[in-house]
Symmetry: C2
């Protein structure tokens, strides 16, 4: 199973782009991007969106990968991870049906 970093690196290399080029476009130091691709640092939402643009990802799909990575990282070591996900699903459904505002 690919990590977010691997997904990004594979796509970048397939497109023949350099760290320097992508990081310049995303307006970050290339050291940061290097670390992100090796999962030494975690990207943030804003960066994911920029990377989706330059690397021609579907934005929502890359965001979903990013968010799910974060969640999996948070709860992977809980013995009750399954229960947590089920509860979260219920809560989200509840929030969506009951919230008036955004």
């Amino acid at each position: 199973m690919e990590t977010i970093g691997q997904i990004i690196r594979n796509k970048r290399e397939n497109l023949g782009l350099l760290l320097r080029q992508v990081s310049a476009y995303a307006d970050i130091d290339q050291a940061i991007l290097s670390k992100i691709e090796r999962n030494e640092r975690k990207p943030n939402r804003e960066l994911i969106i920029k990377l989706a643009e330059i690397l021609k990802f579907d934005k929502d799909e890359l965001l979903a990968q990013y968010m799910s990575d974060k969640i999996a990282y948070d709860i992977a070591d809980e013995d009750c991870a399954d229960r947590v996900l089920k509860l979260a699903e219920k809560k989200i459904k509840y929030l969506k049906t009951h919230s008036i505002n955004s």
Copy 2:
């Protein structure tokens, strides 16, 4: 649907305990506990465990409530929340079957 704060407050009041008593046991300022019960601040994992002890919750169940709250809060405003959860589930399953260490 009850929030973590409401769950804690209800249980505390049913047990007839004061903020002062519970917060002393958990070794935090009672102002913090007051805010947590009104969802003005978020508890952390360590506190959840202490609260489960003194308030006689099942520890794993309270932790599950706590984690799912956090997740729901993180991704409730994503349009692709369902996809995120499904991906997270897959990633967690993968991590559990493939990790040797804890």
